[in-house]
Symmetry: C2
Subunit: 316 residues, 2 copies
């Protein structure tokens, strides 16, 4: 009953790092890696490769930079088939920081890009691919992409780009299943030689559902995070995804243990998940930044006023 | 873009009452009714009509019995088009307690039934219909129904039953979209003269998604509860449903206010929502009672042991 091609991709530390400036300690990251390895998860994304010229290591934890030596520390000694991924944002990476694959513990580099930056993303991906890495392009804010521009970008990716996987990223948690279906079918129709990936956000409690929808329509790379950890509403809960997939290589139990021991206590310290202001930005197809600001204010539970403030923005 | 036939059915007080023995105070229920009326919600289910011979009013709040006089107290003086519903369980009602519709504030009676009790449900529904009420049959634990028995039950409902609506009730929160689609299509194929309803539980964060799936395949009665309140993992969040539907008669703002003022404080006192043991019972297609018991114990966060205990049940 299972489709062997489906790869489960965990981005707990990478997406979760957006809440705490990428400042998870080594012990915690090692526990996550150990559990993912035991669960049979295919990939673990550990953070970003950002330029230290642009961001100061004083202001951020180490997973904003993902030095190979820091990665080695958290994975050494753990028996694992889980591959390591890092993410790169267009315009924020120094490509000379990336060593050839042979000299690095990193297996995959994912390039996050808006449709408008697709040429830059293709340049980066091809550079990393030539250095020996598996690569993907993750098209962010897909719910805001104009159809003609998306068509052109997908055409370029198919022709010019060495990435194995092209991802739909529902950055705002705005997609319903019908649009997910539409997008996956569109991607499949243009990207004949590539796999499709799905990275969903949970603003409207649809991250898992949209991921299932993507699987139904033949996406084979699916992202999740442990207990849904991730900025704002968070992501598709990995434990639900593992519970759904039928491939006997997966084992949910190490993930259950990890949630009990590490994520329930963590949730007391940092906030993510289904919170109404994030649902509102999802419904309105907005970036969650206004809702994140609200949650840091003394009006954090004033949902109606927040909703009306978004409706009231001048637009012409 | 909207389908006028879609009716939004709130069961906050009824399903939420399963957490607190139906003991919401009048002020709270009145606030809910006021907000639902302002939001344009079509129906509000306020509780159960249970026999006082079987359940003592000393042990339960008033919404386990729903005396007409108690209903009158919470709705009088509020301008509203929202209809009032009560639920009846097979074998737990005294039918002589139900007055003719003309003498009651109740508009609809929903009969909850397992497939095996369908003859009893039909008897009850036809009795209530003859008294002038709108009626539904809600088929519980649908994820456990055997296909041949379900086919027979649906055939009987189509031929013998006066209910306007037949509901799929995913009691265990076990359905994924593909099975929801299968069931809705099956119901539609047999129930030619009736509307289909969807009542989802949120164990796997799929209550909203399965409700959308039901709408896509032409279910026209959809249940939600404010902030997802309901036993265990709770239900489809009404605010998400209202945000999704395009009918201009709906207004989300009174619901947002209600959540801020009443449901955020309530959530501090009673527990519901996405909690891993409920996800586990959903994945395994089990009644949540074992997870509810776990949450009342000192092992409430011991997910792995709980999971293994369910797998380890002897079966032959």
């Amino acid at each position: 009953m299972f489709r062997e091609k489906i790869k489960v991709f965990d981005c707990t530390i990478r997406d979760g790092g957006l809440i705490n400036n990428h400042d998870f300690d080594e012990r915690f990251v090692r526990e996550v890696y150990k559990a993912l390895s035991g669960a049979g998860v295919d990939y673990m994304e550990i953070g970003y490769k950002n330029s230290k010229r642009l961001f100061s290591p004083k202001d951020f934890g180490k997973w904003k930079f993902c030095e190979d030596s820091d990665i080695e520390k958290v994975i050494t000694g753990i028996k694992s088939k889980t591959k390591i991924s890092v993410m790169v944002d267009v315009d924020r990476v120094d490509i000379e920081d990336i060593k050839p694959k042979k000299e690095s513990p990193v297996d995959m580099i994912r390039v996050a890009s808006y449709v408008k930056d697709i040429d830059k993303a293709i340049f980066l991906v091809n550079h990393f691919a030539d250095k020996g890495y598996e690569t993907t392009v993750n098209i962010m804010a897909i719910s805001r992409a104009l159809d003609n521009e998306l068509t052109e970008a997908l055409g370029q990716l198919e022709k010019e780009c060495k990435a194995q996987v092209i991802y739909i990223v529902d950055s705002f948690g705005a997609l319903y299943q019908e649009t997910t279906e539409f997008l996956i079918k569109k991607f499949k129709s243009i990207l004949k030689t590539k796999e499709i990936g799905m990275h969903a956000h949970n603003n409207q409690q649809l991250a898992f559902a949209n991921t299932i929808e993507a699987i139904i329509h033949n996406a084979n790379f699916v992202d999740g995070t442990v207990y849904g950890l991730g900025r704002a509403a968070g992501n598709c809960p990995l434990e639900l995804l593992i519970g759904f997939l039928k491939n006997p290589k997966f084992d949910i139990r190490p993930i259950l243990d990890l949630i009990s021991k590490e994520f329930i206590p963590l949730r007391e310290k940092i906030e993510w998940g289904y919170i109404v202001p994030y649902a509102i930005t999802g419904m309105l197809d907005e970036h969650p930044k206004s809702a994140i600001a609200l949650r840091d204010s003394d009006k954090k539970e004033n949902y109606r006023e927040f909703y009306e403030s978004l409706l009231g923005e001048d637009i012409d």
